[in-house]
Amino acid sequence: MTEKHIQLRQDSLQKETTTLNLGPTHPVTHGVFQNILEMDGERVVGATSTVGYIHRAFEKLAERRPFYQITPLTDRMNYCSSPINNIGWHLTIEKLLGLRVPKRVDYMRVIIMELARISDHLICNSVVGVDSGAYSGFLYLMQYRELIYEIYEEICGSRLTTNIGRIGGFERNFNDKVFSKLDKFLAEYPGVLAEFERLFNRNRIFMERTIGAGPISAERALNYSFTGPNLRAAGVDYDVRVSQPYSSYEEFDLKIPVGKTGDCYDRFLVRNQEMWESMSLIRQALQKMEKEPADIFHADAPAYYLAPKQDVYTKMEALIYHFKIIMGEIDAPVGEVYQAVEGANGELGFYLISDGGRTPYRLHFRRPCFIYYQAYPELVHNALLSDAVICLSSLNLIAGELDA
């Protein structure tokens, strides 16, 4: 089949390919986005990826919001791991303000971010299973996402759109329930994950479905500026947590799993391995936390972090700061900062220009999924339709991040 057929009009008699709309509301797209596939029988000969179905203009909205009110906006980017987005945003503001947070807050953040990474990877990998015809693995892992969400709920009060943490720390300390649920998670999840790996990793059916599906070379991946698990699956050991450590990640012992060919099987294995790494990071963080005073959960920064309500009712200074913070009157310096965090899906960047006002002057979120999606037509070129579907889920494209 020549390229020419793709260009022909739909009703042309010479046309020998079929146009197939994968999405925007197709069950396999796992989100609202569209792929216009040009099919020659079962083979994909051309693909056009379309975005814009849930464009919400976050950056523009953010220009009219005080800094703290932008956190709920970041929730809605990669909603499978919103705590990473929230904390990434807090780190950006702290960088702008030059605010230092206590070590214990760093470790608490590491715990929450790694939990979020696990919950994101477990969704992605179990959905790869679903799309290749193995539904049960999804059900077994999903129970543990529930446990992770319960931990979030104990800390911030919400499950999906977490809005967790504040500038300078957390809204409340981890209580005993959080620690006991964390222990439960760390005790039970390894068994569940090992079982999941027994189901998939060496299963011939699964391997034959995923090996060689949607591969990308390290060079092409870098050209597209891939990051995160998808780049590591192609063999590049780039991880923001190691190359530009934030939140005390430099103190942690962390291995970077890398693949070889960047195909769906590599991406699957890399994500599984990263879940093991995340669990080890949570254990290390819990250990480190024990050495820190247990009542610290935020920085001592009355101008940026809300005082407890008792003080607001009784002390003049606390009341003034309370009003100032809520009205968004924080003295942000003029400046330009870029803060990247290793989101569950890749490098999640916040590029912020401040003119000293109460809102950002300009803001840009670097959304990793948006970048992966650009490579999708190349990845599925000449693949079978069923491979195109697995490729879509194993890139872990989250619709919330696609619209920039």
Partner: protein, 172 residues
Amino acid sequence: MQALTDRAVPVDRRPLNFWEKMYLPGIFRGMAITLKHIFRKKATINYPEEKRAFSPVFRGLQILNRDEEGRERCTACGLCAVACPAEAITMEAAERKPGEEHLYREEKYAAKYEINMLRCIFCGFCEEACPKDAIYLTETFAPSSFEREHFIYGKEDLLIPLPGEETKNPQA
């Protein structure tokens, strides 16, 4: 590609050995795992009949609080509306008249107070902003109605009822 760090560990991509190539071990292993799960405890709860316990800080629909004497705490300062990233709160203030001290705690009160539940994203900032302990997020969630207008909650829906008074809020 040269390595960027010394921490890279390649993933295990061995080719299948003869035993694994025979399909059957994989299939039987999978079946054994699923079979084992049949006899496990059920992980789901039958939602409308059974409900799970929420954490005490759960962020659901808002209520307006009263003080110990049953007076409205809200003083219509407007901080919650300023803090709201979704711009869901509107209010109108009024001055307390002599003789209304048993109704309102402060000299100024909210004559009208509305939250548009379709706009609200349940972020919890209003509760955090309130300097009078007047607004709280509760454990109620998933309101439903056939009319859009019903989602604009007024004071009669939000205020917690006085003891003995019937609740007017259809959701509560």
